[in-house]
Symmetry: C2
Subunit: 337 residues, 2 copies
């Protein structure tokens, strides 16, 4: 059993992008336009085709079983428009994910995006999380630590601003994957400097905060192998020690999990070597940031199963934890036959 | 022979901080105050003591020979005040480094900071680089890719804005280490998320630019083990391939070098494994971001020599390159008896 905990619907039918472009066009003439609940006109056949030829095909080729599936991350675009823009777009994206999972119930399980919007509180995000989890069977969410798209002008993750949302996560017993969206800041490049920098920044916010003291059962997944964190684990342990905030392992490993979206053997080896097995969740983020085949291996860069299979850093029992058991524990609402 | 290519004067006598605080006080009442060339009142004895009990002592204890030494990075503070603030502060900091190297000529070689200031061009930085290199024997500089202290509102490193400075680097045949200063952005933590994120961001700017095509002999050092880059080398190779910008190794390794400021064995092993030996320069950044002793090893986290000595990823000849030969090549003005 192999569960890929990090997949986005990056291959949506054309009507989805067209809808979003219409939103952007309306915002050009009126940034304050209030969007109303709406639906994107996509047929089941279009969804079936967009998945069967892409994510499902790769799932089968790579021998993974189940993908925890959420809307396209770099299209969440929380910085675009106003709160109603984000609410309507998010509801539709989540509805679409539900439809994918209904069409392929053996292969995909839904995780939602949130209608975050800079300058607003998290009331709408709490409502959407509740709708998705309690009414639509979602098992987690993607939480954007920087809804401004690279400016980081909102509150740090340790700030009370986020607490009502953390409370809801704990109440529903679902994890949040920390995931920024597309960068709109000229200095940031979405899938490289921005994603990896945001993962590292989110980790630092949490490590320096009281969040896990205040929410001992909160579960946070940091994607892309934890950004720069495992590679610099000594630096982070040393900084924690210098600041007198105790042993870093004890401080974070009850609550933080890293995924395996690291696209070469040596990176995966380091991750498996440095981070406790219980805190690693298998993931590929296919079809995502890197789509090519590595000429050095003959495999897709993002076929991360291969690196884990090949790694000698952990034994077979640990690999079973990473491939499935940890995901079943962290995503406690995920029930597999 | 062991050359540590990354050390900052973090243990300056009290008069240095007092001077800077006076600058800040003046700026509080008049942000446009024009500072005049000035000198900080520090005696040779004070400098001697501040070095002998700290950097020199650790150098001797750790068995390294020479430190390439520059002003304290998180005090460069390019975002503070105006262009004259930065010019006067920078000249004094560089003069102080020259004095350290005059007092301990066997142990320290000078690298300068630059009087960068947001919203201004690089004319003053070019002049200061020229003064330091041609008149004072400096062998390189620290270039701040984000003089705004975390806002990244200035030009990307691939932008023509930086070209006059790159021209001067090439003309003088000195390398630049890319190094941000203290973060003034609430979301960033200086020595963790900000430093590592900036290293990664700088690499991406350069990798996606024509800088090395336009300046084939430019030499850029990315510190802190290259931020997140080596850990995610597969991601970066894959992104370059997807973008059609050819083989990443060929694209960057004629010009980019990573230092070894990675504070645990597994991180150093990965660095040595992934990055060509010719592109790795030994460094510790002591006394810097992490000052404690790792209870797991009994050694200082930042005693990076130990990890390289212990690593089985490269042979003795490669270690000689990393410890000294590469530094002598990259810092071509460094002549060792």
């Amino acid at each position: 059993m192999i569960i890929d905990c990090h997949g986005h619907y990056t291959t949506t039918p054309p009507a989805v992008e067209a809808y979003r472009n219409r939103q952007k066009d309306i915002l050009k003439t009126n940034p304050d336009h209030i969007f109303e609940t709406d639906d994107i006109d996509v047929s089941d056949d279009e969804i079936r085709e967009s998945i069967a030829c892409n994510q499902l095909k790769l799932q089968q080729e790579r021998g993974t079983d189940l993908t925890i599936f959420s809307p396209r991350a770099n299209w969440m675009g929380h910085h675009i428009g106003n709160a109603s823009t984000s609410r309507v777009w998010t509801e539709q994206q989540n509805n679409l994910i539900r439809r994918v999972c209904d069409l392929f119930p053996q292969n995909f399980v839904p995780v939602c995006q949130l209608p975050q919007s800079p300058g607003t509180d998290l009331t709408a995000s709490i409502a959407e999380l509740e709708r998705c989890v309690t009414k639509m069977g979602f098992i987690g969410c993607n939480l954007n630590p920087d809804p401004t798209g690279g400016y980081w002008s909102e509150a740090r993750l340790g700030d009370r601003y986020w607490y009502p949302f953390y409370e809801k996560l704990v109440e529903l017993d679902v994890p949040a994957m920390i995931h920024v969206s597309g960068a709109c800041h000229h200095a940031m490049d979405t899938t490289s400097s921005y994603y990896l920098g945001a993962d590292t920044t989110a980790f630092v916010h949490l490590m320096l905060s009281d969040v896990f003291k205040d929410f001992p059962t909160l579960k946070i997944i940091i994607p892309h192998g934890g950004g720069a964190v495992p590679y610099h684990w000594g630096r982070f342990r040393g900084i924690a020690q210098d600041m007198g905030i105790a042993d870093l392992d004890q401080r974070v490993f009850g609550n933080i999990f890293f995924d395996t979206c690291v696209y070469h053997q040596q990176g995966i080896d380091l991750l498996l070597d440095v981070i406790p097995t219980a805190n690693i969740l298998f993931a590929s983020e296919m079809i995502g940031a890197v789509r090519g085949i590595d000429p050095r291996t003959g495999h897709h860069y993002d076929d991360t199963r291969i690196y884990i299979d090949a790694s000698d850093r952990v034994d077979a029992a640990a690999k079973r934890q990473i491939f499935a058991e940890n995901a079943l524990r962290v995503f406690s609402r995920l029930k597999v036959a």
